[in-house]
Point group: C2
């Protein structure tokens, strides 16, 4: 098994990426390799001496870097020697088994779709993100790969996210909801109304109907599907709002009762830790003819380590074969 990691991607690259990759070595077996893609000198600078001759660590030099604010499609065209482009090409040629990047999300998603392409029966890959809800992990798909999906794409997201939730997160027969604007099936936009009709007769999934934004994290489902625009807004709003609320509370405590602040701090840390999505190791591009894990731009070493763990698991459990055969049958439970 060869797991490729983009050492140049993310806010804390390459230092935290290299550290996280080394932490991830524990999940590799004999003969497996971690391949670090990026500028060799920059990577070597962060590689401790004891790892210099470690056969499990390989550096693949890529002189170009796609920056976080580069236009995705433009960057793929112009920076052919960037880590993101080269990793995807090598994944296509099966020279690596999976790729991990905390770099430009748009470029990672576009590279996956343009270079690796979709798995057999999959019409459009989707980005699945696992959010730590108040009642356990919630897998939301799609959060940005497919901005204007057709209803059938949402059915495939439901099937693929069901398999991911089952095989990787260990949630048996996860409940699948359609994110919409009213519980009743007649509510919604044309996309969700049609998707609802298709989801409720789809045999391979445990469809529980529509879920509203208010109840998304209330524990009524373990999988939620939506179009990539709505999913992306939900993902980022959740992040911004949680961050803003904690800051507001902390500020208020510091102003009102400074002595309380030091006691409140560990409680906040504990809640963050329990709801830390770096635990889930990044967002897989489900339905890709390959394994691509897109990590948050702010990924630290722990997030990268977890991405390595999830990737190894993804490969061992042959998730793509399961997706391919179940979707080919049109029945995720067959």
């Amino acid at each position: 098994m060869r797991i490729a990691i983009d050492a140049m991607g993310g806010d804390f690259a390459p230092a935290e990426i290299v550290r996280g990759a080394l932490d991830g070595l524990q999940f590799l077996g004999d003969g497996d390799e971690l391949v670090l893609f990026g500028r060799e000198d920059a990577i070597r600078q962060h590689l401790p001496a004891e790892h210099a001759s470690n056969k499990k660590i390989v550096i693949h030099h890529c002189p170009e870097v796609i920056e976080m604010d580069d236009s995705p499609v433009e960057a793929l065209r112009q920076k052919k020697n960037s880590s993101i482009v080269v990793m995807n090409k090598m994944a296509k040629e099966r020279q690596v088994d999976s790729i991990i990047s905390a770099g430009n999300t748009g470029a990672c998603a576009a590279a996956g779709q343009l270079i690796l392409g979709p798995l057999g029966s999959v019409q459009r890959p989707g980005i699945a993100v696992v959010l730590p809800s108040f009642h356990g992990p919630l897998t939301v798909c799609d959060v940005g790969a497919n901005i204007a999906p057709k209803p059938f794409h949402l059915v495939q997201y439901a099937q693929m996210a069901t398999i991911y939730s089952d095989v990787i997160l260990g949630i048996k027969n996860p409940r699948v909801a359609l994110l919409s604007i009213g519980g009743e099936e007649v509510k919604g936009n044309p996309l969700t109304k049609q998707a609802h009709e298709m989801l409720k007769v789809e045999p391979g999934i445990n469809f529980v109907g529509n879920v509203e934004g208010r109840d998304l994290f209330a524990g009524g489902c373990e999988v939620a599907v939506c179009d990539g625009f709505v999913g992306n807004v939900v993902l980022k709003l959740t992040e911004g709002l949680a961050d803003g609320l904690f800051k507001t509370i902390q500020h208020e405590i510091e102003v009102e009762s400074p002595d309380l602040a030091s006691r409140f701090d560990p409680i906040v840390k504990k809640i963050w830790a329990r709801h830390d999505y770096s635990e889930y190791g990044g967002a897989p591009l489900l339905g890709l003819n390959g394994v691509s894990m897109i990590c948050h731009g702010s990924s630290d070493r722990r997030a990268i380590m977890n991405a390595v763990r999830v990737c190894a698991d993804y490969i061992h459990r042959k998730l793509n074969s399961i997706i391919e055969s179940r979707l080919a049958q049109g029945d995720a439970h067959a």
Copy 2:
């Protein structure tokens, strides 16, 4: 001025609605009236003796009630004698100047659009909600009236919400953002890309570009526009997430440091109070040929009182005339 209130609408109707209406009397002048719509006996039961002969309070008996879970359009057709239908008809005939309801939101929105119809130049009315962000009130339009809008509808939402934010909230030249999935103008779905092009050349608004979900509450804009599906998801997700986070923190404190709980409680209450959207008195259906304020189902007397205040303000300041004339000119600042 005659302000109509749906005494039968909302989780705490009629008790809290009647109480809130009475509290709202302070915003009425000589000759003004509050008209309570609903079952007369139910309303009278909550009307204190000292108000029984108050000339400012009028009861308009409506034998039917549209329930919270009734199908909106169906209910409007079948319950012609419900408070929601009768209020809208009387508003159309100018027998009342504005209507307030905390009842079935879909029915209120549909009644407004079907019975009152749009103002002169307005193509599609939109529901505007004022959210207490970390940096002051943020007006989001639309949050559910128009599920599949055209780009021009979003331009009109920007114009109308600008006027609302200016005239009612006192925010001069509010910054208007388009809710999308990336800061760059090329990001988004077909709707937002086209709307972006139109918004940036629209002279009457202070357009500051796209805003992502992460930054919606970060203080970069005072008005945000989006389609009604996305807006509804945002509104309800915000509500559910804020509620869930506070509950999680409180639970954690009770488990970890029970003695802290009693001290944390007033801090939470203070934050809630400062971010209490009942302060803004409900969500106006902007662009309607009439004044209709849709309140949250869980509205208490304070929310209803504030709705009366905002309605009186809306009428005094002739907001609809301003909207009509500015939109007719195609220039909100002319």
